[in-house]
Symmetry: C2
Subunit: 223 residues, 2 copies
DNA sequence: ACTTTTTATTACCCACGGGTAATATAACTG
DNA sequence: CAGTTATATTACCCGTGGGTAATAAAAAGT
C-alpha cells in the first residue's frame, strides 16, 4: 500500500496500475452488457456462456476471470438494474415537491429504466434461477421499490395532492404498467424511451390527482 | 361412427369407450395442472419431468403417453390460457354495450384469468422456450389480445364513451397493469381474484371515460 | 380363457453446457 | 532481461435431465 512512486520513473507509476484496473472493469462491463442482451434475447437458460464469450471474441473460460459463475453474471445484471432504480428513489426522496409530483417523477424515471436492458432484467429474469441468498436480495429490492411507490402515494394523500384511494392496488397498477414496458419496448420501434416516460408520467397519475374541490371553492375557474 | 348399440349388451357398449376416453383426458389435464404449477413455482427449465411425474405418482416415461415432449406440455399450458382469453373476447365482442362498457367487461374478465395458473402462463413463460411454429402461435395470440383491447378503445372513442387518447399506449398501460397480476397474485393473499377484477375494471378505465361536456350541457348533474 | 391394446415401469442413452485443470502467452515490474 | 502476475487458450470432466427401447402389468375386446 505504498503510494509513493519511485523517483526514477518519469510517468507516475500508479497510472499503469490504475489503467489496468480500469481496463479490467471495462471488460467486466462488456461481459455484462453482452450477457444481459443474450439473456433477454434467448432467456437465461438457453443462452450459453460459450455464446457470450463468442460475441466478445474470447472463449468461455476467460469469462471466469471476471465472474465466478453464470448465476453470478445474472445476479449482477439484476443488481445494476436495481441500483439504477434505487438511485432514482433516493433522488426523488431528497427532492422537493408534493406526493403527486414525486410519484410523477418516479414514474418518469422508472419508465426510462425499464426501456433499458438492465432495467428489463428486473422483470424478465426469473428469481428462481438465483441462489437462495441472491433471491433474498432481489425480493428485498422488489419490496423497496414497492414501498417507495406506496410511500409517494400515501404522502400525496396526506398532503392533499392525491385523492384518497387504495394505496396497494394503485401501486400495483402503476408498477404493472411500468414493468410491462420491459416486455414490449423495442429500441427499433417508433417510441423513444423519453416519449414513453413522458406519456406514462401523466397517464398513470392522471386519475389520481385531487381536483380543486367544487363544493367549497365557489369559483375555481382559474383557467 | 355407428351410434347404434348391439342389442345383446344391456349397458350401452359405447360407454366404456367413452369413459375411457374421458379418463384419458382427465389424466392429460391432471398432467397439465401439475406441470403448470411446477413451471410457475420453479421456472420451466428448473422444473423436471421427473418431478412432474412424481407429484402424480407415476414415472417420467408415463407422461409420454399423453405428450410428445416437455415443450409440448409448456405450449399446451400456454394454449389453455390463451383460449380462456379468446373466449372472453368473443363473448365481449358479441355482447351489447358501448366501447367503454366492453373494455370494462374485458378488463374484469382478463384480471380473473391472470389470477389463475393457466392465465399466468401467458406472462410468466418465456416465448423463446417454444419451437419456432409454436412461437408464431403465441405471438399471434398476443397480437389478437392487443387488437381486441385497442378495438374496444377505438370503438369507445367512436361512440363517444371514451375520450380521445393514444390508443396504443392506453392499451399497453392497461394490459401491463393486468398482466402484472400474473406476477404478484398469490392465492393465499388477502385479495380474491374477484375483488381484484372488480377494482381494476373501474381503476384502469376511470381516466378514460368521457365526462359529460360541461360547455354545452348546462346541467348534466345527473348524479 | 386367449388375444390385443393401452398404459405403465425399469433401465438406459446421450447431447448439452457449466465448470475446471493444465498450460501458453501477453503484460507489467524491477 | 529475468521474474512475476494477469489473462487467455485448449482439452477435458461430469452432472443433469429430456427422451427412448424393451418389457411388464392391466384393461378391453371377443
Amino acid at each position: 500500500m505504498d503510494t509513493r512512486a519511485p523517483a526514477a520513473a518519469a510517468r507516475s507509476p500508479w497510472l499503469p496500475f490504475e489503467s489496468r484496473r480500469r481496463a479490467r472493469d471495462e471488460k467486466r462491463e462488456a461481459v455484462l452488457r453482452t450477457a444481459v442482451q443474450l439473456f433477454l434475447e434467448q432467456g437465461y437458460h438457453r443462452a450459453t456462456l460459450n455464446e457470450v464469450a463468442d460475441r466478445l471474441n474470447i472463449t468461455k473460460p476467460a469469462l471466469y476471470n471476471y465472474f465466478r459463475s453464470k448465476e453470478d453474471i445474472l445476479f449482477e445484471c439484476w443488481t445494476i438494474g436495481q441500483e439504477r432504480v434505487e438511485d432514482q428513489i433516493s433522488e426523488t426522496d431528497a427532492a422537493e415537491g408534493s406526493g403527486l409530483t414525486k410519484l410523477r417523477r418516479m414514474v418518469h424515471a422508472y419508465a426510462e429504466i425499464m426501456a433499458s436492458d438492465f432495467g428489463a432484467s428486473l422483470v424478465r429474469f426469473n428469481v428462481a434461477d438465483l441462489s437462495e441468498p441472491n433471491q433474498k436480495s432481489t425480493l428485498a429490492g422488489k419490496r423497496r421499490i414497492d414501498r417507495a411507490f406506496r410511500g409517494y402515494i400515501e404522502h400525496g394523500i396526506a398532503d392533499g395532492s392525491i385523492r384518497p384511494c387504495d394505496v396497494k392496488l394503485t401501486a400495483f397498477a402503476i408498477l404493472g404498467a411500468l414493468n410491462w414496458i420491459g416486455h414490449w419496448y423495442k429500441p427499433e420501434g417508433e417510441l423513444t424511451p423519453a416519449q414513453i416516460a413522458e406519456d406514462f408520467a401523466v397517464r398513470l397519475t392522471a386519475g389520481l390527482e385531487k381536483l380543486p374541490d367544487k363544493k367549497k371553492a365557489a369559483r375555481p375557474r382559474t383557467k
